[in-house]
């Protein structure tokens, strides 16, 4: 039997495996990022209304462990089970608050906004076009979280509307929050408009 083991394994490999790589997907690009440490700058405007208009996140496809034989780790589970768009929204609100702004969160487009708040606040509408995350374990067993988010935004200030789209990337160690880093970079992008 032993002399046929070669054919046996080849046949199993050919018939059972479906080796695949997702088209246009290259996590290697993210791995080259340097670690980012957020530092919040003060923003002069007084208050903003933050609204996540559309969340098109399909992040589960991006969450996995590399170079590991673990089936599912708590980290990966959090990434998949969390509502990543809303987590990103909340982290953005916290980053804006850290910069000294009063932030009003808007969760629903039929919410009544009091005139006093509406007239004295800048409205930021976010649309998360895409987010992806990776967990990478290096040979020295350090774990890194990598993330990328494509966000389009509308900033309404004094009846003027500024629109834009940005792609933010980040990398953290296991004990830090990748969403926080992405939110920090997003806030840095829009702060010029506030």
């Amino acid at each position: 039997m032993r002399k046929y083991s070669f054919y046996f394994y080849i046949l199993i490999a050919v018939s059972c495996s479906t080796p695949t790589i997702m088209p246009n997907h290259n996590p290697g690009k993210l791995n080259n990022l340097k670690l980012s440490v957020p530092a919040v700058e003060r923003i002069s405007s007084k208050s903003v209304i933050l609204y996540l208009e559309v969340d098109r996140t399909t992040s589960p496809i991006g969450a996995w462990l590399d170079d590991s034989d673990d089936q599912i780790t708590p980290v990966m589970k959090t990434f998949v089970m969390a509502n990543p768009g809303m987590v990103m929204f909340e982290k953005t609100a916290l980053q804006l608050e850290k910069s000294g702004l009063k932030v009003y969160r808007l969760y629903n487009d039929q919410t009544y906004i009091p005139a006093a708040i509406k007239n004295n606040s800048i409205l930021i509408k976010m649309t998360i076009e895409n987010m992806e995350f990776h967990v990478r374990r290096t040979t020295d067993l350090k774990v890194y979280h990598l993330g990328r988010a494509d966000i389009s935004y509308k900033v309404q200030k004094n009846s003027k509307v500024f629109q834009g789209k940005t792609s933010v990337k980040g990398k953290t160690t296991e004990n830090h929050d990748i969403f926080e880093v992405l939110a920090f970079h997003f806030c840095n992008t829009v702060k010029e408009l506030l």
């Binding site: 002399k3 046929y4 083991s5 070669f6 054919y7 046996f8 394994y9 080849i10 046949l11 199993i12 490999a13 018939s15 059972c16 495996s17 479906t18 080796p19 695949t20 790589i21 997702m22 088209p23 997907h25 209304i49 559309v54 969340d55 098109r56 399909t58 992040s59 589960p60 496809i61 996995w64 590399d66 590991s68 034989d69 089936q71 599912i72 990966m76 589970k77 998949v80 089970m81 969390a82 509502n83 809303m86 987590v87 909340e90 609100a93 608050e97 009063k102 932030v103 009003y104 969160r105 808007l106 969760y107 629903n108 487009d109 039929q110 919410t111 009544y112 906004i113 009091p114 708040i117």
Partner: protein, 350 residues
């Protein structure tokens, strides 16, 4: 035929049978939406028609697009190591062959079950678009092939699913857009969920993981359907002309707290005058997100009719509550934050 040929034929048949189980699904039999029955206890006087769903999934979700690809290390004549890794999507051909029609009828049947509209009054049409529907798992394989031996090393990760819809609500007669929503649901395979099972053998999980990857989107769809009634309620509530059964003199109110994962709601119903807790339960999230996690907010929902309150009715409720409890709009404009009982406290339960 010699022994070698017989051996190869037997192994081929074994491999075919073990690796090509029937995995095609029928979502109508997989999705259970019976828990949607009679969510609402009062009427919203309008009629709702659901237009045929439009399939706007990206092309790579509608055909079997997994591409065979491998990297080759040590390209020697005698020893070769292949390494493949990446997401493996559920094969589109294994999904329900009538996916669009099946989801169409599920949407209609589930909304009919909830009695979201009375069927009389102003006419509305809901235009659903399917944006995403897939199961995916991550897989990593290594093959070592050398003269006389072949080794396979395989790592499979649990499959997850993503389902997303764009909903557009229009007035049927005028075609005016009342509201649009993009709703989505994720699901990660859970071996304790009934009907899902992945047993592994020495050769890996085999066909069961294919079945699981194909079935997980139906669970995501089911969860999304349970959220649909209140998503639609908030869309319909934008039209203040629709008459709704409401409670003009509420005796109780509903507090809602979102859990950290945004997946569950803790719902508490409190008698206004006494502060007595009438109901307290953690359920899978059925309401649209209206606060950050772990924040107690007053739900814009009538306890008596379970209908979504419009702005005016919600503010009336808050004015009543304000006599007994600390409720205020702090950093949240959608729902008032609940911070406890005012002094003097309400009369204790007698």
């Amino acid at each position: 035929m010699n022994n070698k040929t017989n051996f190869l034929i037997i192994i081929s048949i074994f491999s075919f049978l073990s690796c090509h189980h029937e995995v095609r699904q029928n979502i109508k039999s997989d999705v259970d939406y019976s828990n949607l029955k009679n969510i609402f206890r009062g009427n919203r006087y309008c009629s709702l028609n659901v237009a045929p769903m439009v399939d706007h999934r990206p092309k790579n979700e509608t055909y079997d697009h997994n591409q065979k690809s491998a990297s080759l290390f040590l390209p020697l004549i005698l020893i070769n190591i292949f390494n493949t890794a990446g997401p493996v999507f559920g094969e589109a051909s294994n999904y329900d062959p009538h996916l669009r029609k099946s989801i169409d009828s599920l949407l209609k049947e589930s909304l009919k079950l909830t009695n979201i509209c009375s069927g009389k009054g102003k006419r509305y049409t809901l235009y659903p678009e399917l944006k995403h529907y897939y199961g995916v798992r991550y897989e990593k394989n290594s093959f070592l092939i050398a003269a006389g031996i072949g080794l396979v090393s395989k790592f499979e990760f649990f499959p997850s699913a993503h389902v997303a819809f764009q909903l557009t609500l229009k007035e049927t007669d005028t075609g005016k857009v009342v509201s649009t929503r993009y709703i989505s649901e994720n699901y990660l395979f859970n071996p304790t969920d009934p009907g899902l099972n992945i047993n592994t053998s020495a050769f890996g999980p085999g066909a069961e993981i294919l079945k699981a990857t194909t079935r997980v989107p139906t669970i995501a769809l089911h969860r999304l359907l349970t959220r649909l009634p209140y998503e639609l309620e908030t869309m319909l509530a934008q039209d203040h002309d629709i008459k709704v059964d409401q409670d003009s003199d509420p005796e109780s109110f509903m507090l809602v707290r979102l859990t950290k994962e945004y997946d569950f709601n803790e719902i508490v119903i409190i008698e206004i005058k006494t502060g007595r807790i009438l109901f307290n339960k953690i359920t899978r999230r059925i309401f649209p997100i209206m606060s950050k996690p772990n924040e107690w907010v007053v739900a814009p929902v009538s306890v008596k009719t379970r209908r979504w309150l419009n702005k005016n009715d919600y503010h009336n409720l808050l004015n009543i509550l304000n006599k007994f409890y600390k409720v205020s709009f702090k950093g949240n404009l959608t729902a008032a934050t609940f911070s406890g009982v005012r002094d003097p406290k309400p009369d204790p339960v007698k």
